[in-house]
Symmetry: C2
């Protein structure tokens, strides 16, 4: 088999066989196929796409390039969640403890942040002492004892995806439905969960700009998961403004705990987290209907068992559980600066991506893969889209390093303040799957 | 400037600026841009194409990556010819001496063969002693003293093209109109000729399968040449059967000499060589009309001055000029084997590409860039398309290494012998340019 023939076939719009795809993935991972040939094939895939069969074969080949987690020692249907990435998205910190508290095991592998989006692993790392890279034994123990486990993925899971992703990152071939599908689903299938809820973000600053594209990606992932006997369902959610009031790692832990305490229950963040949790509970067999599932979610918030699960998970994995009740124990910023509105009107739009980049500049996110984060810094967003603003109202509180100069102009530029009130748009755009 | 942004722009179908293209070509040549990024951009160019301005910029950037020949010490309009490659194509050996004999200097850089097509340099190398890699001084001396110069291109001419071509060769990105245009034209512009005749081959086994594609490529090259003040004209010629009776290096020298002696004057090879030579004479100012130019060609064949020019060129560059009159002095094959027809009918088609590959297998061509050729071996084609064949007629004489076993089946399989006589098709399909 010659790599040249694979590239040529795809260049002309043909389909590759499962054997050809396995040959490529193996060769890309072990270095026997040079990067320039993989890069050329990746661009040809962006051009010509892949059939469902090809996407399936690519997913399986990448899954089989490394180890597969065996979670069979933990009883029950294990349910995972994946989000395609949003600014201020701390839903995992909220729904993981909720789902576990309702009796459904929730094993999750989360990523580190890069660019404007934060990573769940970084958010957990803001809890002092909490171990965010678990061994297999620690991961399974956490899942068995608390119902929840979260870890940065080890290099052993889908190493071919890691290799190909690094190549896609420098060759402008990240944005491709089959490549995104295979990258996500190979890791999820290797992670060992039985069921998966997908949160596919859609909006001008998300990967998927249009509802149509988001639906195609969601359907592609649902098809691949279903074909491998995984229960899978996708929610397509709007992404424009940041999710919740917190951007930045320790701040996002605080906001998550507040929601688990029952605060901000009517916020979009709480509504989205609860809905995703409810979907997971149905998949895990804890509820039959959405109404039933939502009642379970509500109950574990009210009786404190969700927050207690987060405390137990934290303590078991070396973290300071007291920090969840005493935020003074979390990393703090050196200074806080308020940014006030210079005009009156309706807050009609907020650019989440721009705010994510500003938070990155403060030190809450990574420009480069090797950057070290300042876990205490970030942005508290006071306004909500749709709200009426008066001149002098506080819009943001910036949590910055001591001595950093904060220019309000770029923050104010992320907002649209208009005379007319904006139309309210729902956060849930569509659902796909069983 | 970031290479990523160039790839991303082209992926989305945008145009690159001349500065961006120069940045890429320089980086690809000096290694500062990794091959995987160039490979990805090359495939994106195959996908999205290039505007005329982009193709111009790419051509110039590649031309300027190395030295430019300065032929100004030789008086007159220097006229070159380029063919996109055919089996049995020895037109350079014929038209170079003709054009020079008519007083128009003809400086040519020719390639080595690879795969089913032979290379002009290899054909000249079959003349014992003839130096086929000339220094600049030797090249200019040959042009000044005989009117004709031919050399393998030195690595100093368009090294960026050499680097990118090697990458295209393994990444299935050779077939792209702007990339082919820039590759050819960068070398031709660096070669120092004032005028250029292009022979763009068209047919099922050529790069350009359809007349439409061949016209687009020809127009693209004519546009680039014209934009740089070069006189340029393209002939689109049919390629299916081999050109002439000889495939193989020494055999092709023999056939060229025979045509320069005035033999086979009605063959397609002679007609094509004479027409290309006539076009070159018009560009070089030796004739005003095609009829006038064709009369000059005819005269220099009749009076022997064309063949005498080849003898002088050969002797000046260290070659055995006597071998042009005594073919026994040329490299010989170890054995000859005749292949006879097993049926009667009309010879209606001949697969030039398959015959080129068979000649390669005999040792006349290279499977791999580093293969060493046997200059004496090859195929003598006795039949011509359109001819009536009787069972037992001699179709081919195979000139092979001593002891090689020749299976007639693959040779017979290159021919279509039918009951009905095929329609005659012209070899000249279209002309493009001034």
């Amino acid at each position: 088999m010659r790599m040249y023939d694979l590239i040529y076939t795809k260049k002309l719009g043909g389909a590759l066989s499962p054997d050809q795809i396995a040959f490529w993935v193996k060769g890309a991972a072990d270095g026997s196929i040079p990067d320039e040939q993989s890069a050329s094939l990746l661009m040809a895939i962006c051009w010509r796409g892949m059939t469902t069969e090809e996407t399936l074969a690519l997913t399986l080949a990448m899954r089989d390039s490394g180890k597969r987690m065996n979670l069979s020692s933990v009883p029950g249907t294990k349910v995972d969640k994946h989000s395609t990435g949003g600014v201020g998205d701390k839903t995992t910190l909220i729904l993981g403890p909720i789902v576990a508290a309702c009796g459904v095991p929730c094993p999750m592998f989360s990523g580190r942040g890069l660019g404007h989006t934060g990573g769940t692993v970084d958010k957990f790392a803001a809890i002092p002492g909490l171990k965010v890279e678990l061994t297999d034994a620690e991961f399974i123990r956490s899942l068995a004892e608390t119902g929840f486990a979260n870890s940065a993925p080890t290099g052993d899971i889908a190493p071919a995806d890691k290799k190909l992703y690094a190549l896609r990152d420098v060759t402008a071939t990240v944005e491709s439905i089959p490549l995104i599908t295979a990258s996500i689903m190979s890791k999820k299938l290797a992670g060992g969960a039985d069921a998966l809820v997908l949160d596919v973000k859609c909006g001008p600053t998300a990967f998927m700009k249009t509802l149509e594209d988001a639906q195609i990606l969601a359907q592609s992932m649902v098809d691949v998961g279903s074909a491998h006997g995984m229960q899978i369902r996708a929610l397509i959610t709007r992404m424009d403004a940041p999710l919740g009031w917190a951007i930045g790692n320790a701040l996002e832990v605080m906001e998550s705990v507040e929601i688990l305490r029952g605060e901000h229950g009517d916020s979009e963040l709480a509504q989205m987290s609860f809905r995703l949790a409810a979907e997971m509970l149905i998949m895990g067999g804890a509820a039959k209907t959405l109404i039933e599932a939502q009642a379970l979610v509500e109950a574990c918030i009210q009786d404190g068992s969700a927050l207690e699960t987060l405390r137990r998970f934290t303590a078991l994995n070396g973290g300071d559980a007291k920090a969840l009740d005493d935020f003074g124990r979390l990393p703090q910023a050196g200074q806080t600066v308020d940014i006030l509105s210079d005009r009156a009107g309706h807050l009609s739009a907020m650019d989440g991506r721009a705010l994510g980049l500003l938070a990155m500049d403060l030190g809450a996110g990574r420009k480069d893969r090797n950057d070290v984060l300042d876990l205490g810094v970030g942005i508290r967003v006071h306004g909500r889209v749709g709200q009426r603003i008066a001149a002098g109202d506080r819009l943001f509180t910036i949590h910055a390093k001591a001595g950093a100069r904060i220019d309000p102009a770029p923050y104010l530029a992320t907002l649209q303040i208009t005379e007319t009130r904006p139309l309210a748009t729902p956060w849930l755009l569509a659902t796909i799957g069983c």
